[in-house]
Amino acid sequence: MRLDLSHIQRWIKPGSRVLDLGCGDGVFLEFLRDQRQVIGTGLEIDQDYITAAIARGLNVVEQNMDEGLGNFPDQSFDTVVLALALQAVHYPDRVLEEMLRIGRECIVTFPNFGHWRCRLMLGIRGRMPVSGFMPYTWYNTPNIHFCTVKDFENLCRDKGIRILARDVVGSTKRQTLLFDKWPNLFATTAIYHITR
């Protein structure tokens, strides 16, 4: 399982209701269902992913979150997950507000644009960062709203969003002191557990 997903599953209570925004092929919801008896719903727009998730026996709704999530009632899920998709939506702040309306708790993961490699590429080479983790070039990337760990925490402060926990992942599985001390420099993926 993708590293950010294996990190966030421990924040999800067994038997709870989970909405996974951008659920992909459903591998995470399948894991939560089989290991934690979670009642999951996925949102997805990619046709092949939708079929794959249905074949796993998951509930998947074809819906573009950029066009709103108003059809989901207030506080209708225990946890709303947005994994590595915040940077790809048109209005990240609005999506966050909607997630917090729909879910009692939310989990957000995103690629940290403040990572030292990104800084090096932009600062020294003067080019937009491209890596194995973010393999797109600037003109064809679906990632249109990059942010850093600091940026995200500023947004949470401005919006009155409470950060219950923060976790960071580097390019290797090995947790090092560097992540904890300077997450904005060493985290490739930032993981937040938030609520109102």
Binding site: R17, I39, T41, Q47, I50, T51, A52, I54, A55, G57, L58, N59, V60, V61, E62, Q63, N71, F72, P73, S76
Partner: protein, 382 residues
């Protein structure tokens, strides 16, 4: 090559008739003392009786959903694209039941049947039938076949409305509800089209106020016209443009042409109309359009579809088609949103398709993929 040799066909099928003597209390307040339901089955019912799938037909459908009635049948059943070995509703795994609904004209008791009380055809005096009456009669058929709980109840268009009604009327007897190109209720535009269709039939002198059978006439012109109107609404603008464009069948639009030109689309519609009027009963058409008009899923739940769906216990698959303007994707989204708000398990896909409402009968690759993937889940009892 004769059709039944195709490996993905259920082959030759034989319709069967179930007779019911227990009176059926109808929503309109009247009672049918006894009735017949004609049906077909494909595949085998397993030992646990857990693999039965009910197919509900749409406005002009019947019990012949798949396979062929004889070796020289040219066309298979109406949903052969989706029912058969290796198809979405895989008959190697499921026991499939499809019936002609009450009020129909393909063998089940309806307006063209003899009213035992008078010895004459029921005609226009046949009781008005609602979707919930169909569901009740289908439940009687399930009892007759020894099926306690359907693995899935499946339907497109008016069939989807029956499937939804099943989920509310018999929540403990349905595990999955598959609703394709349907709506919670008809829009005013939809009601209007149905009224024009009925007026077309009723204004045909041969309709004789519905007593055409006794007078040995058939309101063929009115019925053909009704079908033509319906047919236009089942196709999209694009589908008609692709199929016919402005192609002429005869004549020309050049100067000096005195005779009328005929467009391909004209002759196509006339052909569809005359084919239909040759084998469909006018009173049944009126009865079916009224059942469609009167369907309103949430009417008896304070007009709240969320409150209605809270009674359901099954999982739902909802499918819509991008160019369907008779039952547009927005109508399916209303179903999905009500299910989400009622916290019912729901899966939704909107299929890109040029074919309009008729797309639900077509072998569109993504449609078949989504349908097949969901039926895997139905088969695995998840």
């Amino acid at each position: 090559m004769s059709a039944p040799t195709q490996s993905r066909s259920v082959g030759i099928v034989v319709p069967q008739v179930a007779h019911f003597d227990e009176p059926l209390d109808l929503t309109c307040g009247r009672q049918l003392p006894s009735y017949d339901l004609v049906y077909e089955t494909y595949g085998e019912l397993n030992a646990q009786r857990s693999n039965a799938v009910l197919i509900c037909h749409a406005l002009s459908g019947n019990h012949h959903a798949a396979g062929y009635h004889s070796a020289d049948d040219k066309k298979p059943g109406w949903w052969d694209e989706c029912i058969g070995p290796g198809k979405p509703i895989d008959t190697t795994r499921f026991f499939v039941v499809c019936l002609n609904n009450l009020g129909g004209c393909h063998g089940s008791t309806g307006p063209s049947s003899i009213n035992p009380a008078t010895g004459k055809p029921w005609g226009p005096s046949f009781p008005s039938i609602r979707t919930r009456d169909w569901v009740l009669s289908q439940a009687r058929l399930a009892d007759y076949l020894g099926i306690d709980c359907w693995a899935a109840v499946v339907g497109g268009s008016l069939g989807g409305m029956q499937a939804m009604r099943w989920s509310l009327e018999f929540p403990q007897r349905i595990r999955h509800c598959i609703v394709i190109a349907a709506a919670l209720k008809l829009s005013a535009q939809n009601l209007a089209f149905n009224e024009v269709a009925r007026q077309a039939i009723e204004s045909d002198p041969d309709y004789a106020s519905g007593h055409y059978q006794e007078q040995n006439t058939v309101p063929a012109r009115g019925l053909a016209l009704a079908r033509m109107i319906g047919h236009i609404t089942y196709l999209s603008d694009d589908a008609m443009a692709n199929k016919f464009g402005r192609d002429l069948r005869s004549g020309s639009l050049g100067r000096g042409e005195t005779a009328n030109a005929e467009f391909q689309v004209q002759s196509y519609l006339r052909y569809q109309g005359s084919q239909f009027s040759g084998h469909f009963d006018a009173n049944t058409y009126i009865l079916m359009t009224r059942a469609l008009d009167y369907f309103d899923l949430a009417l008896e739940y304070d007009n709240d579809p969320v409150a209605a769906f809270r009674h359901a216990r099954c999982s739902f698959l909802v499918i819509s088609f991008s160019t369907d303007w008779r039952f547009a994707p927005e109508r399916s989204q209303e179903i999905v949103n009500a299910l989400l708000a009622a916290e019912r398990p729901v899966t939704y896909a909107e299929i890109e398709a040029n074919e309009g409402h008729d797309a639900f009968l077509m072998p569109i690759p993504r449609y078949l993929d989504v349908f097949s993937a969901y039926m895997l889940r139905v088969g695995e009892n998840r």
